[in-house]
C-alpha cells in the first residue's frame, strides 16, 4: 500500500516535470518569431521601395520564413513528445 503511494507520487513528479519541460521547450518559439518578423519587415520595406519586384521577393521570403521556422519546429516537436508520448514514465519500472 505504501509502495503504491510512493509510486503514485513518483508518477506525479514525472508528469509535472514533463509539463514544465514542454513549456520550457516552447521558449524556442521566440527566435523564429523575431527572425521571421525581421524577414517579413525587410521584405515589405523592399516592396515599398520597388513595387515591381514583389513577384520575385515574396516566394523567397516564404522560403526564408519556412527555413527560419525549423528551430521553432524542433522545440514544438520536443514539447509534443513530452506532452503526448510520456517518454519518461517507463523509467519508473511499472
Amino acid at each position: 500500500m505504501e509502495n503504491n503511494e510512493a509510486l503514485l507520487n513518483a508518477q506525479g513528479m514525472v508528469l509535472a516535470g514533463q509539463a514544465i519541460g514542454a513549456g520550457l521547450a516552447m521558449i524556442a518559439g521566440i527566435g523564429p518569431g523575431i527572425g521571421e518578423g525581421y524577414a517579413v519587415g525587410k521584405t515589405i520595406e523592399t516592396i515599398g521601395r520597388q513595387p515591381e519586384c514583389k513577384g520575385s521577393v515574396t516566394p523567397t521570403m516564404f522560403i526564408g520564413c519556412a527555413v527560419a521556422e525549423t528551430t521553432g519546429i524542433y522545440g514544438l516537436f520536443v514539447a509534443i513528445i513530452l506532452l503526448f508520448a510520456n517518454p519518461f514514465l517507463k523509467f519508473l519500472g511499472t
Binding site: 516566394p59 522560403i63 527555413v67 516537436f77 503526448f84
Partner: protein, 243 residues
C-alpha cells in the same frame, strides 16, 4: 474534457499462427492509397485524347499545370534540368499537397506522420546523392567529407526537411484537436451555468465557426506553403549538387 492525440491507427494487421503481430498497415498508408488513387484518376482524365492544338478546357488545364512546373524549375534550376526533374518534382508536390489538404475531408493528413515525411525526405536525399555522384564524381564526393562538418550538414538536410513538414502539419492537427476539446468544455460550462445540467447531452454550440477559421490557416495555408517549401528546397539542394 478529454484530449486524444495519438499517432495514425493500425488499419490492417497480419498475425502469425501463434497470434503474434507480423506487420501492420497504418492509417497514413491507406490514406496515401486514396491520395494516389485521386491523383491517378485526375492524371488519366487530364491526359487522355491530347491534341496538337488544345480545343478542350481539360487539355488547357493540363498544359497550364505542366507549364507552371516547368517554369518553376527553369527559374530555380536551369533549362537542362526541366526534362530530368520535372516529373519527380511535380509528383512530390502533388502528393504532399493533396496529402496535407485531405485533412479537409475529415481523413487524417498523410503528412502528419513522421514515417511518411521521413521517407519523402529520404527519397530526396537519394536523389541529391545520385546527382552529386553523377556530376562531381565519386572522388570529389568523398573528398568533400574531409571536413567532418560536411557529414553533419549532409545528414541534417533530410532530417530538417522531414521534421519541418511533419511539425507544421501535425501541429495544426493537434491545435485543432485541443481547440475542439476546449470549445466543447466551454459550451458545456455555459450550459451548466444556465442550469440545464447533464452537459454532455447538449450540442456544443461554441464548436461552430471558430475551428473553421483556424482551419483556413492550419490546413489550407500551412499545407500549401509547406509543400511549396519542400519542393523549393529539393530543387535548391539538387541544383547545388550539380555544381
Amino acid at each position: 474534457m478529454n484530449i486524444d492525440v495519438s499517432g495514425p491507427k493500425k488499419m490492417l494487421t497480419w498475425l502469425s499462427a501463434e497470434g503474434e503481430e507480423l506487420f501492420s498497415i497504418s492509417e497514413s498508408v491507406v490514406t496515401g492509397w486514396v491520395v494516389v488513387l485521386i491523383l491517378s484518376i485526375v492524371c488519366y482524365i487530364l491526359g487522355r485524347n491530347l491534341e496538337m492544338v488544345p480545343t478542350t478546357k481539360r487539355q488547357c488545364a493540363a498544359e497550364f499545370i505542366v507549364k507552371t512546373v516547368n517554369n518553376m524549375i527553369e527559374s530555380n534550376m536551369n533549362k537542362d534540368c526541366v526534362k530530368a526533374y520535372a516529373p519527380f518534382i511535380a509528383a512530390l508536390f502533388s502528393y504532399i499537397l493533396l496529402g496535407s489538404l485531405i485533412s479537409l475531408t475529415g481523413l487524417r493528413s498523410v503528412t502528419a506522420d513522421i514515417s511518411v515525411t521521413g521517407s519523402l525526405a529520404l527519397m530526396v536525399f537519394v536523389m541529391i546523392t545520385y546527382t552529386k555522384l553523377k556530376y562531381q564524381g565519386l572522388k570529389n564526393y568523398l573528398l568533400s567529407f574531409v571536413n567532418p562538418l560536411n557529414l553533419i550538414s549532409e545528414v541534417a538536410n533530410p532530417v530538417a526537411m522531414a521534421l519541418r513538414l511533419f511539425g507544421n502539419v501535425s501541429a495544426g492537427m493537434i491545435i485543432g484537436i485541443i481547440l475542439y476539446a476546449a470549445l466543447g468544455s466551454a459550451s458545456g460550462a455555459v450550459y451548466g451555468l444556465l442550469g440545464f445540467g447533464a452537459e454532455e447531452y447538449y450540442f456544443n454550440i461554441f464548436q461552430i465557426g471558430l475551428p473553421a477559421v483556424l482551419s483556413i490557416y492550419f490546413d489550407l495555408f500551412s499545407g500549401v506553403i509547406q509543400s511549396y517549401v519542400f519542393i523549393m528546397l529539393t530543387m535548391a539542394y539538387i541544383y547545388m549538387g550539380r555544381e
